[in-house]
Symmetry: C2
């Protein structure tokens, strides 16, 4: 049977601020059959993640090259091997891949991770994959919360934040989430088991956050920046740890917003002896990933960590879903189901 044509979503223009649908284009071409040593993949699930915004700028973030104009948007996928000329992979294998925003892709196998027969394979893009690993490394290796300490995490129902909070609870911390909207806050407390969650859209956000952290904040998992960081900063305790995972509030900035807040940050770091440490999850794979997968697999199987997924149907929905992600419109890990299995 001939494979149908391959649709791929390419970067059409560099976004000014928040991306628009016009910054993407869909291009169709015949599927290329695999050459010697290659496999042909069909995308089942495509992961959409905030870091992708950084790859759309002309100068990339350093740890990965920017996407060229006209090139396929990059992204992690769960894919099915549909043809193989690689000795290590057989037709029908389920793999974790980096196929990007497209129906099909070729791979030489070097970037593929066999997934066996995972009950819910899309979780390999979420809590059991890169976002869950990001939460695990950032919280445990850098944040290192002690029992009874207070951990604050924003984007509390997002792919990373939801895992940060639940793992911190397992480690005995008091966990305060920050999320956009009362619905998300309810999910964080009632479903994910956070001790409290504060709505950053609330007019009294800063006071509510303070009230939710009567013992101050010992670990702030930074994935937002902006006004959330403003509200957190005065409540950081002496010796607080701030793993810096991202700062989605600024990804769409085209110019500095408002007066300089760097001296105030330096003052807090100094006076409170704060340890602020950035990390890029790509650095941490290897044995550390195996340890994560074992532990997280057990937690998920035991129901101690709940993984929420926000699933969108169809590759053509990827651009609008991605724009929504940057606006906080997703509820859980955002994945696109590209092809039914």
């Amino acid at each position: 049977m001939r494979e149908p044509a391959n649709r791929r979503i390419v970067l059409a223009a560099r976004p000014q601020g928040l991306p628009t649908l016009q910054d993407f284009d869909m291009v169709t071409a015949p599927v290329t059959p695999p050459g010697p040593g290659e496999v042909l993949l069909r995308t089942l699930y495509l992961s959409l993640d905030p870091y992708m915004r950084n790859l759309m700028d002309p100068v990339g973030p350093g740890y990965a090259p920017p996407v060229a104009i006209g090139a396929t948007m990059v992204g992690g996928t769960v894919s099915r091997v549909v043809a193989s000329r690689h000795p290590g992979f057989a037709e029908g294998d389920l793999v974790l891949a980096n196929a990007g925003w497209q129906d099909h892709a070729l791979s030489d196998g070097s970037d593929l991770v066999p997934l066996g027969d995972l009950a819910q394979p899309s979780l390999a893009l979420g809590g059991l994959g890169m976002p869950g690993f990001t939460a695990h490394v950032g919280l445990l290796d850098i944040g290192a919360p002690l029992p009874g300490e207070t951990v604050v995490v924003a984007a509390a129902t997002g792919a990373v934040g939801s895992v940060v909070g639940q793992v911190a609870k397992i480690r005995g911390a008091r966990v305060v989430g920050i999320a956009g909207g009362s619905g998300k806050c309810r999910v964080a407390v009632e479903e994910l088991g956070f001790d409290a969650c504060v709505d950053h859209r609330d007019a009294h956000f800063a006071e509510r956050l303070a009230a939710a952290c009567p013992q101050g904040i010992d670990v702030y998992f930074e994935n937002v920046g902006g006004a959330v960081l403003d509200a957190v900063l005065p409540h950081l305790n002496v010796g607080a740890r701030v793993p810096v995972c991202g700062f989605i509030a600024h990804y769409n900035d085209t110019a500095p917003q408002g007066p300089d807040r760097r001296p105030e940050l330096l003052a807090a770091v100094l006076q409170k002896r704060i340890r602020m440490q950035g990390f890029i999850i790509l650095d941490h794979y290897g044995p550390r990933f195996d340890a994560f997968r074992r532990e997280m697999g057990e937690w998920v199987a035991a129901g101690r960590v709940k993984l929420r997924e926000d699933r969108v149907e169809g590759l053509e929905q990827a651009p609008s879903a991605f724009i929504g992600l940057l606006q906080g419109r997703n509820a859980g890990k955002l994945v696109v189901r590209v092809h039914a299995d």
Copy 2:
């Protein structure tokens, strides 16, 4: 013999920006004799340090209370015990004290450190005391330079920076100083043995710093902030460490200067996996101080660390000397000789 009257310099007004002479006042009163358990101290040397500026603001830096209006300016001193009703101290003892900006002070002994008969007692306020200890802890415990790595330190001829650079050289690092003026830069290279020193007043400062750090920057000892941090940031290497000791460029800020540079700092911390950690030297005394004193004493005795002192004569000169310190006018550790011994 009666002690003469005690002169003390008090905080007359809270400075707006850079302090002026009008923010200080000199008050004279009779010397109070020691009560039971007390000693009377005569100040030989008064230390002037940048942190004192922070104690002049209405809200203190957290680790120490602000100086009240009308209260004596605080400060470390080398003092002589001139009368004692304390069993642990005898008339004539030389001690490290916190007598502040005055001729005489009473102490219950709890904050005094016996100095024995140090050849140059004022060094107990500099390289063998708090500033040297600050350099030692910040550089070695937080910065942790490896042989061959590049260490950058500003205020390169100052009390802390000069020791940071020399200790980094002993540890095998390449050391690049930053200082204000070509004279100071010459001192850093020719006298203190830095590999290079860049004048931050030079119109091509940023380019010259880049040229002096061809392998990038692995440790940036932050004691300045502002334009120096701007120039350093693009050259920090992946995995760089930034001990945050102070940021004298901002101590006199009355309002934010210019657009927000916090997002840019967060981006650098994230993308380069930087560890930025504040420290307050008061936290580190105890056994760590003994280790420092032993090691630094050997280095100084062997001529491996040279300690420069900028000595001002007379208590009445303290305010103008302190204002000069905040403007970078000192050359080495600034001390006031209050009384000849």
